[in-house]
Amino acid sequence: MVPLTWYLVLAAALFAIGMFGVLARKNAVAVLMGVELMLNAVNINLLAFWRYTALGELVGHAFAVFVITVAAAEAAVGVALFIAVYRQRDTVNVEELDAMKG
């Protein structure tokens, strides 16, 4: 039987990697991929906690399903935004998307 902490450490690692992707990649699509990694890390945690501490009720399941839903919505809107931005600015390099620069 795998201990719960293994899953938690795994999820932490995945989360950190995903965060690195979000913060360090230049391409917006890569940033989106980083976000997906982070969401998946969360899902692992949710299900691990469900499995080890709350087996009776399906809270973890339900929450994970909602996370997946949100991820799907986020990916759809995100990709649409990239395409729109690409059409406008001819780039999806997040460093160049600095219209908010002061």
Binding site: V22, L23, V94, E95, K101, G102
Partner: protein
């Protein structure tokens, strides 16, 4: 009442006010192009309301426990401090009785309006919007009229069903709005006589006058809410609440300690004074006659004015919370005074509707007086009987006026047909100018405009308009209190008996005199209108054969049945001979409510004096009236005499009464008095303030300030350039420097911001770990 035992029909209560409202909404939003459809909608909705209303009422009459446990349907909707006001309706014996009367009379009035507005007639090309239509044509705004009266019916029905004061106030104000709109329905109408009030002004006057009462009433309601925290009748009429209100006092300046109940009761009664046109706020009601006749019937019979009486009947436990307190005395005084006072005015009026208007004021005074002396049931009874016969009288007068207008029209055509220039000229002079619809060649010069409402222009209409005449006479008899047969007799008699038995002699005498006068002016009106010879060509040609009169006279007949028969439900069991067949169901029903509300309302023992008094004053007044005006009625039309007009004819009372008659004819100069004192006063104050402002105080100050400021600003200019500019520029420079220094933080790159967020989160997490728990 147990949940399951509520008859299903009560659940339809909500429909009774909502149906006319739906009709209103539909007409306004959708059907207004089609006059027939609009009228049909209004009549259909009110007919349904009437049927449902009667079903509810008769169910309620059958179930006596409804007095103890009224049917209520309420939904919380308005949060007010800690309590929710309920959007609620209630059926108890009083509401049920009103439901018996209100939707039915409304229905008849709607049907009457169908004829009155000439629905189905062609549209006249000359008719202007906001003028009465040419006879034989449809009113151009008929749809609007039906929308208004439907909303009006909503207001009244909602009012009688309301189960709390907030709801009551809402419907009360809906009616106020509708009365404004309806009185001013012919908003464009003007008269040659500049002194004569126009419909627009009359509507405004009615609205503003009642507003005085409404404001005081609102104050009373708010005080009540502040005291007991609820406005539901159910809560207000709990004995302990009333006890609390009667004992807790407030200190008024000049007056001293006053129980809350008294203060609130008087304030609420002020609302009723305004709405029911009691002295001193009675001035709006006669002028409200400028509205179309069905409106007069709606306002003066079934609805608005009786709303005031209804309000006092409804809140009677509150009024009577202090036994024989000043509130009741005040009500009794106002009521009795108004009854007598306006009866005297009515005697000297020549306008057929004005007589009825003052008569209404007087009869409402009767009811208030009855309430003031504690004759709770008698007042309710009189309210209902009066509604029937006064509606009948108003609608009858409308029919007469229409007949006169038709006759005028006919007469005119006949005159022009004669072709004789000379005669035509005379004819012109005789009849011209009155009709607003008159065309260019009818220009009046030396004679006042023909007024189809003036009783002096009538006479002999009995033969021309028999249906109207018969029903009008029945209504008049009921108003005069013709003994035994009519409804008015029974209700009026009961009030008098109550006053007598309980020893209110002053009230008794006042009301008796008022009743005598009532019979007198009723006789005067009937004689002048229907008997004798026609005094004008219009009266000679008047007829009721047009198709619209079918619509108009059927309601009259229906109402005349009630004007007689409705009295029979309230024949006292102690009455000689007749009493043994009577079970007095009315007293029984209202008695159960009175019992539930702890109002003392035992059936009176029989007393001969008030009975004799009412018989004598009724018959005596009628006889006197007939004797006095018999001769006037005989004066016929003098054809061919261009200088003669029935308006020059002196009233038989004018000489014996002398100056008093003039005073009466001018309504005790109340309008003038108000005009001088209040309106002129306010105008003068405003004028003075204007001058004060313009010439003496404000303008010099303003000018001085202006000069001073100029000087200051010249100096300030220098200051500005040297110092302020320097500061501003300095601040600007500093800001710009700081801004450019800080600019690099704002990279516009989301990832930088996220990094800051991450760093912050990491630091927080670290602190959380390091710090001891």
């Amino acid at each position: 009442m147990h949940e399951s035992s509520i008859p299903f029909i009560y659940n339809l209560t909500i429909l009774v006010p909502v149906l006319p409202f739906l009709a209103f909404a539909l007409i306004v939003l959708w059907a207004n192009r089609n006059k027939k459809l609009s009228a049909g909608l209004a009549i259909g909705s009110i007919a349904l309301s009437w049927l449902i209303g009667w079903a509810i009422a008769f169910t309620a009459f059958g179930a006596h426990e409804i007095a103890e446990h009224p049917f209520r349907m309420a939904r919380a909707w308005l949060p007010a401090s800690r309590a929710w006001q309920a959007f609620g309706f209630m059926v108890d014996p009083l509401s049920a009785l009103m439901l018996l009367m209100v939707p039915f009379v409304c229905f008849l009035i709607f049907v009457y309006s169908y004829g009155y507005m000439g629905i189905g007639k062609p549209i006249s090309a000359h008719d202007q919007r906001g003028w009465p239509a040419t006879p034989g044509h449809v009113d151009p705004l008929a749809s609007r009229f039906f929308a208004y009266i439907a909303l009006f019916a909503t207001g009244m029905i909602g009012l009688v069903l309301a189960d709390n004061l907030i709801m009551l106030l809402i419907f009360w104000e809906i009616m106020g709005l509708c009365s404004y709109l309806l009185i001013g329905f012919w908003f464009a109408r003007t008269y040659d006589d500049p002194k004569k009030i126009t419909p627009k002004e009359a509507g405004l006057k009615a609205f503003l006058t009642t507003r005085i009462g409404d404001t005081l009433m609102l104050a009373g309601i708010l005080l009540l809410f502040a005291q007991i925290g609820s406005l539901s009748f159910n809560d207000i009429f709990r004995p302990e609440t009333l006890e609390h209100l009667a004992t807790a006092t407030t200190h008024l300046p000049l007056v001293g300690p006053v129980p809350w109940a008294t203060l609130i009761a008087i304030l609420i009664f002020c609302g009723a004074i305004g709405k029911s046109a009691q002295f001193p706020l009675h001035v709006w009601l006669p002028d409200a006659m400028e509205g179309p006749t069905p409106v007069s019937a709606l306002i003066h019979a079934a609805t608005m004015v009786s709303a005031g009486v209804y309000l006092i009947i409804r809140t009677f436990p509150l009024m009577a919370a202090v036994e024989h307190g000043p509130a009741l005395q005040f009500i009794a005084f106002i009521g009795a005074f108004t009854a007598l006072f306006s009866a005297t005015i009515a005697v000297a009026q020549n306008d057929i509707k004005k007589v009825l208007a003052y008569s209404t004021v007087s009869q409402l005074g009767f009811m208030f007086a009855a309430l003031g002396i504690g004759a709770y049931i008698a007042a309710t009874f009189h309210l209902l009987t009066h509604s029937f016969f006064k509606a009948l009288l108003f609608l009858g007068s409308g029919s007469v006026i229409h007949g006169m207008e038709h006759g005028h029209h006919e007469g005119e055509q006949e005159t022009s047909r004669r072709g004789d220039k000379e005669t035509r000229k005379q004819g012109d002079k005789e009849v011209s100018g009155g009709g607003h619809h008159l065309s260019t060649h009818h220009l009046s010069t030396d004679l006042p405009a023909f007024d189809p409402q003036d009783m002096r222009n009538m006479g002999g209409l009995f033969r021309r308009m028999p249906r109207t005449a018969w029903t009008f006479i029945i209504g008049g008899m009921a108003l005069a209190g013709f003994p035994i047969v009519t409804a008015g007799f029974w209700s009026k008699d009961e009030i008098l008996a109550d006053a007598w038995v309980h020893g209110h002699t002053v009230i008794f005498v006042t009301l008796a005199v008022a009743a005598l006068l009532t019979a007198f002016y009723t006789a005067r009106q009937i004689v002048m209108t229907f008997f004798g010879a026609p005094r004008t060509p219009a009266a000679e040609h008047a007829s009721e054969h047009d198709s619209i009169f079918t619509w108009m006279t059927i309601p009259l007949m229906a109402l005349s049945v009630f004007a007689i028969g409705f009295g029979w439900v309230g024949i006292p069991t102690t009455f000689p001979v007749l009493g043994q067949w009577s079970s007095n169901p009315f007293h029984h029903l209202m008695g159960s409510l009175a019992e539930a509300l702890h109002i003392e309302a035992a059936e009176l023992p029989f007393a001969a004096t008030p009975l004799l008094t009412s018989v004598v004053v009724a018959l005596g007044g009628l006889l006197l009236g007939w004797l006095t005006y018999r001769r006037v009625a005989q004066i016929g039309q003098r054809i061919g005499d261009p200088t003669w007009s029935p308006l020059q004819m002196p009233d038989p009372l004018a000489r014996p009464l002398g100056r008093v008659y003039t005073v009466l004819q001018n309504k005790y100069y109340f309008d003038e008095f108000y005009g001088r004192v209040f309106i002129k006063g306010v105008q003068r104050l405003a004028n003075w303030l204007f001058h004060f402002d313009d010439a003496w105080v404000i303008d010099p100050i303003v000018d001085g300030v202006g000069r001073l400021w100029r000087r200051l600003s010249e100096w300030g200019h220098v200051f500005d350039e040297r110092i302020v500019d320097g500061i501003v520029n300095g601040i600007g420079a500093v800001t710009a420097a700081v801004g450019s220094a800080l600019r690099f933080i704002q990279t516009g790159r989301a990832q930088n911001y996220l990094l800051v967020g991450l760093a912050a989160a990491s630091v927080l997490l670290g602190v959380f770990l390091v710090l001891p728990k």
